[in-house]
Amino acid sequence: MHEWSLAEAVIATALEESRKEGLEEITEIKLKIGELQQLDVEIFKFALDELAETLDEGSLLKEMKIKMEPEKAIFKCRVCEKEWDFGETGLSEEEYEAVHFAPEVAHAYIRCPSCKSPDFEVIQGRGVLIQTIKGKR
């Protein structure tokens, strides 16, 4: 249910942007969903719809469509420059859950498959990002 807090963040950002940009209606939010966070997309969508209704006091989000684009998590070792993906990490269930809550915790459990270094970069697919917010003035 951690998906709810991130959904709330998305709706709050949309409302904040509409105020900043003077939008009377938000028509579309495009999100990137990074694999590393392992969101339950069904719960996340449900939470977004529910919160869009409860937090939207001025009917700004009534016609809003949400588009989600999954993004694969890719890691790159800072020591040997090897690139690898999340599928190759072999985490236990507890470790997956910990990474779900705070993706940076990956640095506690994932090592470079080539040189075993913990010093790597998540070059894409960390978590939820808003790509675009479209609306009408």
Binding site: H2, A9, A12, A98, F101, V105, H107, A108, I133
Partner: protein
């Protein structure tokens, strides 16, 4: 422009917290985590509702000081910190365990932001934040994101610690952030060096906590910690000083 949605909910997550005290000091090893832990325990025993948030992600230690183990946050529209010793307690250790978690600056900022965005605090009189050492990414982000924070600065009487503490005070002043005052920790002998140094900053020295040879034996046991002289002294400082603005318990 790509936006990070988490920034928009930090204030909402902290909305039910009356006062947020960030225990800072810049230098490592001066007792920020001990003072944070004792302050949280003391305020809780005085009847306030208290949370403790360990934001030293590289070397979290308040769970060791308070002997917190075998508990885990509950997942409910975010994560709800468990209550331990009467304190809502949140730390990255729930997720990292004993594993070393080497994080670069951007990773630290991301993890801090995640913790602040997903932690669902109850209605609290006080949230005590154990700040990381240094004045780099982590401290600057926390100062920027915790807009309601008041800063309690810890130093020792050593010139080595004071040199960094002065930089922290100057930075907080430049950023226009409220400073409750300074506590001199691990005081070994009578000296006015801390008082003298603080005059330049118009920041009060709230009091001193003497070095306690036997404190280490109480680490990991909250009740024994509260029996130590250090705890009694901190309670006196907190109760006596109008800047903490406490009633006589609740």
């Amino acid at each position: 422009m790509v936006m990070d949605p988490r920034l928009s909910v930090i204030d909402t997550r902290l909305a039910r917290i009356k006062r947020l005290i960030a225990v800072s000091g810049g230098k490592g090893g001066i007792g920020k985590s001990l003072i944070s832990s004792l302050l949280a325990l003391t305020l809780s025993r005085l009847g306030y509702t208290v949370g403790l948030l360990d934001l030293d992600l590289s070397a979290p230690s308040t769970h060791v000081i308070l002997g917190i183990e075998g508990v885990y946050p509950k997942e409910e529209r975010g994560i709800v910190p468990p209550e331990v010793h009467g304190i809502e307690f949140m730390s990255i250790v729930y997720f990292t365990g004993d594993e070393p978690t080497p994080l670069r600056g951007t990773d630290i900022s991301n993890a801090l932001l995640e913790l602040l965005a997903i932690t669902q605090w109850g209605s609290l009189d006080f949230l005590i934040v154990d700040m990381p050492p240094g004045i780099g990414d982590a401290s600057l982000d926390i100062i920027r994101w915790l807009r309601k924070a008041e800063f309690l600065v810890v130093t020792t009487g050593s010139k080595v610690a004071l040199e960094t503490v002065k930089k922290v005070l100057k930075m907080l002043n430049e950023l226009n952030r409220p400073i409750i005052g300074v506590i001199e920790n691990m005081k070994l002998r009578d000296s006015s060096v801390v008082k003298e140094e603080l005059k330049k900053f118009e920041v009060p020295l709230l009091g001193a906590i003497e070095f306690d040879m036997n404190l280490e034996d109480s680490i990991g046991d909250a009740n024994r910690l509260l029996e130590r002289d250090a705890a009694a002294r901190l309670k006196e400082i907190v109760m006596r000083n109008p800047r903490f603005n406490l009633e006589q318990g609740r």
